[in-house]
């Protein structure tokens, strides 16, 4: 029987963690962009968009991420497009992230007093300028903690992509534990690696929050 050292386990897990990081980054960036687009559409009050986006948000908030991954994996294939677990996971997590972020940000924008919009309007700023120079900078300050809190959820959520056969940290962990018969040790390492990924994100959020509030006085 082959012996696995702790270093062997860690090394293999670290290799797989790269995919967890990539998937998270894609979900952050893609989800952030789609979420921002949906937010702007919703705020522009184009007829019908509000309800449509509301429904989109409800669908992603009201179903488990696991089902969304399954549906993306098997659903895209139904249209005759060959999907890899990688594409399916990236698509599902991006949409999932966008739905949550757009809703979180909508709440932040809604908390900006109406008078700020009115002042910007009466100064003849157009909609884009009102948003970019008056409302979003103020909303951003409020948005940092809930956004980062959610991004940490996304990092951990990538673990679910293992069920459609995508080899990221969790999937690699179960494969290694099958080979080594040391599940506790392996999963402890997996958990540790997730912590190492998530903790710095929270730290960055804290310093960002301090910096944004520091601007004030």
């Amino acid at each position: 029987m082959v012996e696995f050292s702790l270093w062997d386990i860690l090394r293999n897990l670290l290799m797989a963690a790269r995919w967890t990081v990539s998937l998270s980054l894609i979900a952050f960036i893609g989800g952030g962009l789609v979420g921002l687009l949906l937010l702007v559409l919703r705020l522009s009050r184009v007829r019908g968009t509000g309800r449509l986006i509301g429904a989109y948000v409800q669908v992603f908030q009201g179903t488990p991420l696991l089902m969304q991954l399954f549906l993306a994996y098997f659903g895209i294939a139904l249209f005759g497009i060959k999907t890899s677990p990688w594409t399916a996971a990236a698509v599902a997590l991006t949409l999932y992230t966008s739905a949550y972020l757009t809703e979180i940000w909508r709440g932040c924008v809604a908390s900006i007093p109406k008078g700020q919009w009115e002042a910007a309007q009466s100064l003849a700023l157009n909609f884009g300028e009102q948003l970019r120079h008056v409302v979003l900078p103020q909303a951003l300050r409020i948005a940092v903690p809930p956004t980062v809190g959610f991004l940490v959820q996304v990092i951990k959520g990538t673990a679910l992509a293992s069920v459609i056969g995508f080899v990221e940290l969790t999937k690699a962990g179960s494969m290694i534990s099958n080979a080594t018969y040391q599940p506790f040790l392996v999963y402890a390492c997996v958990a540790l690696l997730y912590f190492v990924l998530c903790f710095p994100v929270s730290l960055v959020a804290q310093s960002l929050e301090r910096k944004l509030h520091g601007n004030r006085s």
Partner: protein, 264 residues
């Protein structure tokens, strides 16, 4: 009931051009929230340089009327134009044109809390009038000096008193060089000792010939500064005239009751 509508210009005095086309022209304006009609046919013409005070009970529609002038409220019937520019809610370009003619000062100041005082004033001229930063900054300093806050250019709004914030808001509105300034109960949120400093600024604007439409509860101020007073009641212009006429010889029982209620 006395005539509800008076379209004759106020008596001529310095700065008011009689006979010229009105700078604000409101015709048969109606506005409702759902089935509740709050403005029931308003006709009002304001001449360049005229100072108009709008008084009335809360709920009489006076703030709503003011907010219609720069399109913050959408009205269903009638027409409104400022300096010959028609108000068209559906056209962003027309609204941008019109709003450059009209400045507004709010009860709650509404300064942008994330920007310094100077940047608050510079924002709209740089974006809308494409001024470069240096020109806009020089203008902002000049305006701050005019409202007596020259040293506050780099301060943040939350470091200022209410009266100072409102004076910055006036400077911010003036930076767009509007033809008309709308003042919506601009001293109502201020501590009594801060009211004077804001009113003095408004009075100086009136003396310089700025066209002003102000909704106010400061009757003494309205009496002193305005050329014409409009009393609104239940969504209509109920009585209108010079301050001396309106405050000295109210013709309708509603106005008499309103004025006497202020002394209680």
């Amino acid at each position: 009931m006395a005539t509800a509508v008076d379209t004759t210009p106020a008596p001529a005095h310095d700065g008011i051009v009689v006979g010229a086309p009105p700078i604000v022209d409101i015709t048969a304006l109606r506005k409702s929230y759902g089935s509740n009609e709050v403005l029931k046919g308003i006709d009002l013409k304001v001449q360049k340089g005229e100072v108009v005070a709008i008084i009335g009970k809360s709920g009489s529609g006076k703030s709503t009327l003011l907010r219609c002038v720069n399109g913050l409220e959408v009205f269903q019937e009638g027409a409104l134009s400022v300096n010959g520019k028609k108000l068209m809610h559906d056209s962003p370009t027309a609204m941008r044109e019109l709003r450059q003619q009209v400045g507004m000062i709010f009860q709650g100041f509404n300064l942008f809390p994330h920007l310094s005082v100077g940047r608050n004033i510079m924002l709209a001229p740089t974006l809308v009038k494409s001024r470069d930063a240096a020109t806009a900054a020089a203008q902002a300093r000049k305006l701050l000096d005019r409202v007596g806050l020259a040293e506050k250019f780099d301060a943040m709004p939350d470091q200022l008193s209410g009266g100072q914030q409102q004076r910055v808001a006036i400077a911010r509105a003036l930076a767009m060089e509007p033809q008309v300034l709308l003042c919506d109960e601009i001293t109502s949120a201020l501590d009594p000792e801060l009211v004077g400093e804001v009113l003095r600024v408004v009075e100086s604007l009136a003396l310089e010939g700025m066209t002003l439409m102000m909704v106010t509860h400061e009757m003494a101020f309205a009496r002193k500064v305005s050329d014409r007073v409009i009393f609104m009641h239940q969504g209509r212009v109920h009585e209108t005239g010079t301050p001396a006429e309106l405050f000295g010889h109210p013709r309708t029982p509603e106005l008499r009751q309103f004025l006497s209620s202020l002394h209680d």
